[in-house]
Symmetry: C2
Subunit: 204 residues, 2 copies
């Protein structure tokens, strides 16, 4: 793409680093911002920069937070003996939106993936084990593994389970099955297979 | 969307103002930036801000430019008597990419659209007429109307033509027809109709 300006080119370059944004969209974004008020663009730039300068990761669970300890870890209304292990921040939000879970979280920041060069030391695994060993911020009775059902997620589950068993915590995982409202006809075999294998008592 | 942090929320809010970016993509962008180096994010924010503080619009043609007069208007290698009127900056880039046009441009910044509240005074129409009347930066012999073939584009073409005729310039417009490589079978009637009406001598 031949841009008429170096400054525009730099902005397009930067905007196109965002996930899923190509050069063409980046140009659209840049030209849009160019037309906005300077105050608006300044607010935009500062809000983005504050992501690095002011946003924390919770000392205990590594979820994003404005404070050193996130509101969930700081709350005395949560079941502090249960820790749900998730891949990323979005997963915490998804689980919080269900309003069904009252325990704490632990954000790994990814899953073990040798092909992407992500090993145990790149993830918040040591801090999870330490958290259980030192009972800080609270003694842990149960760890729920809520990682994705991919090869990488399964590998990470397997590794975590091996590390967690000796620590005397109960290790559980999310129920998987046909989604509520989905018809059996269109469910994939693996999901349907798990639904039947892990069938539960009918609540009449 | 329930975000765990005010700072994250503000960044998502700002990023979701970009055209075609919803809350979910904005969150993905924000979490991506959060994981980048601080230097990288600072570069990102500064590149965006420079769009307002350092990027100019060319004094003559209103194309974006790092300088007060853009390289096209400043060049003595262009046919300075021909001005191609386009809707926006992207159109200039598209025409430049053809490497077929050696004249100058005039970027209107939109088309007349009463429904969107865009009138003659919101566009660079007065400056186009002044440019021809004062022969600054160069005397104009021909104006090519290259606006979109929409109702708004046609309205703007009609208005411009009426204003330009008394100034003694030749007013032309882009040839429209079936695209190179397209089969007639799948061309729409209006395009095909124009192709046959505006047929040209065969160059054997």
């Amino acid at each position: 793409m031949n841009l008429p300006s170096k400054i525009l080119e730099e902005a397009v370059e930067q905007l196109s680093t965002l996930p899923g944004v190509g050069k063409r969209s980046a140009l659209r974004h840049a030209l849009f911002l160019m037309k906005e008020d300077e105050v608006r663009v300044r607010d935009f730039a500062e809000a983005v920069l504050r992501l690095k300068t002011h946003l924390h990761r919770c000392r205990h669970c590594h979820n994003v937070s404005d404070t050193e300890v996130c509101p969930i870890c700081a709350s005395d209304k949560r079941q502090r003996g249960i820790v749900c292990v998730v891949e990323n921040v979005q997963d915490v939000m998804a689980l919080e939106n269900t309003q069904q879970y009252r325990g704490l979280y632990h954000v790994l920041g990814g899953v073990i993936s040798p092909i992407d060069g992500i090993g145990v030391s790149d993830l918040e695994i040591a801090s999870l084990l330490r958290r259980i060993q030192t009972a800080d911020p609270a003694p842990v009775e149960e760890v729920i593994l809520a990682l994705p059902t991919t090869m990488e997620g399964d590998t990470t589950n397997y590794y975590l389970n091996r590390q967690l068993q000796p620590l005397g915590v109960r290790v559980t995982t999310l129920a998987r099955g046909v989604a509520v409202g989905d018809s059996l006809e269109y469910a994939d075999e693996i999901t349907l297979g798990r639904s039947i294998a892990h069938r539960i008592p009918f609540e009449g």
